[in-house]
């Protein structure tokens, strides 16, 4: 993974004491700001969250102070439980970290509480998702990746039904992104594989995006040539 940063920022990151401090400050400040964002997005006062936590308001005030810096994982778990969100604590590479800390606006830090609508039980499409994920994560060139994803999509009947090959080529990353979102809503399947494809392509690849379109889903019979096509037959039919 590569993070795009300014030369000025990279020069600072080259110094180990700075990057250590950068992580420390962003974790401390990030946690404090995120708790406040989560609380405020729910319309809760500090007093309300403190009550749910079963702690005095002064404790919550400290928790939301980025200079406090003595939060334990146990306290964070309790806050997560009170807000009904999950807590993710894991080590990360610096590019990952920089990327994750890019959007620290209240909207960027907010996360929804648990909702059953956030989940879908496993169905036949999980096989497609697994295969696509495997292909997308494979270290291949964007063009090969594109072809592989297309092959996989064509070879899995549940996928073909929802692919509109006439509109696969998204003109911009934003358009591609909105199609992914629309497709996810349409199918109710969190199709991270496609997002990965988009990420890889927007990193500079020339290959057109292989993306589904939810607005005009094609019927299975709309593309007989494609459905009859097999990976070993060479180029995809137009």
């Amino acid at each position: 993974m590569i993070a795009i940063v300014t030369k000025r920022f990279l020069d600072k990151l080259l110094r180990k004491p700075y990057r250590e401090a950068y992580v420390e400050e962003n974790v401390r400040t990030g946690v404090a700001y995120q708790i406040r964002a989560l609380r405020e997005k729910r319309g809760w006062s500090q007093k309300k969250l403190a009550e749910v936590l079963g702690k005095p308001q002064s404790v919550l005030s400290r928790i939301e102070d980025p200079d406090y810096g003595k939060l334990s994982v146990q306290t964070l778990l309790e806050v997560a439980a009170a807000l009904d969100v999950a807590l993710l604590v894991q080590f990360a590479s610096f590019p990952e970290f920089v990327e994750r800390m890019e959007d620290v606006s209240p909207e960027g830090l907010n996360r929804p509480s648990f909702d059953v609508a956030q989940f879908q039980t496993v169905d036949e499409s999980s096989q497609v998702a697994t295969e696509l994920r495997r292909l997308v994560l494979a270290p291949v060139s964007p063009n090969a990746l594109n072809a592989s994803v297309t092959c996989a999509a064509v070879n899995f009947a549940p996928m073909v039904s929802f692919l509109d090959f006439a509109t696969l080529r998204a003109p911009t990353a934003e358009a591609a992104n909105s199609r992914v979102e629309a497709y996810q809503v349409y199918r109710g399947v969190p199709f991270r594989a496609f997002r990965r494809t988009l990420d890889l392509q927007s990193a500079g690849a020339e290959a057109p995006a292989v993306l589904p379109s939810a607005s005009t889903p094609a019927s299975p019979s709309a593309f007989p040539a494609l459905e009859a096509w097999k990976p070993n037959q060479g180029a995809l039919p137009q």
Binding site: P17, Y18, E25, T29, R36, E40, P106
Partner: protein
């Protein structure tokens, strides 16, 4: 994400934050603290700028505000003012000890610089905040 534009008062063509950074260049932790504090403020709405990260000043310093952060028991303050829609201009860096700014002339200098910038925008330029 839409954010604030931070501008910095210029002293001999060096912006006030860069001058502060140069003074503290040996202390990476302090530099990271300021960088992080500014980045979070930059992406958050003005109504969420409040203690302990920020405070609005009164009295001698009326019309100004301060970004607040502490390091090694020193209270650092970067004074500035809202200079336009989603725009904030920093005019002076100081410290605070016993509820008083160091140097004592902080408010007077900051007010003077604020007036300069209001009268002539070129007395400040966009800060390098990364």
């Amino acid at each position: 994400m839409a954010g604030w534009t931070f501008r910095c008062y210029l002293i001999d063509d060096v912006d006030v934050l860069d001058e502060w950074r140069k003074t503290h260049e040996a202390d990476d932790k302090l530099l990271a603290k300021l960088d992080t504090r500014l980045r979070f403020l930059q992406q958050n709405p003005r109504e969420s700028w409040k203690r302990p990260h920020y405070d609005t000043l009164s009295g001698e310093c009326a019309g100004l505000g301060e970004v607040r952060f502490e390091h090694k028991n020193v209270q650092h303050r970067i004074l500035g003012f809202s200079s336009g829609q989603m725009e904030y201009t920093f005019v002076l860096a100081a410290t605070e000890k016993g509820n008083k700014f160091v140097p004592l002339s902080t408010c007077t200098t900051a007010q003077s610089r604020m007036r300069e910038v209001v009268a002539d925008r070129s007395r400040a330029r966009d800060c390098d905040c990364d």
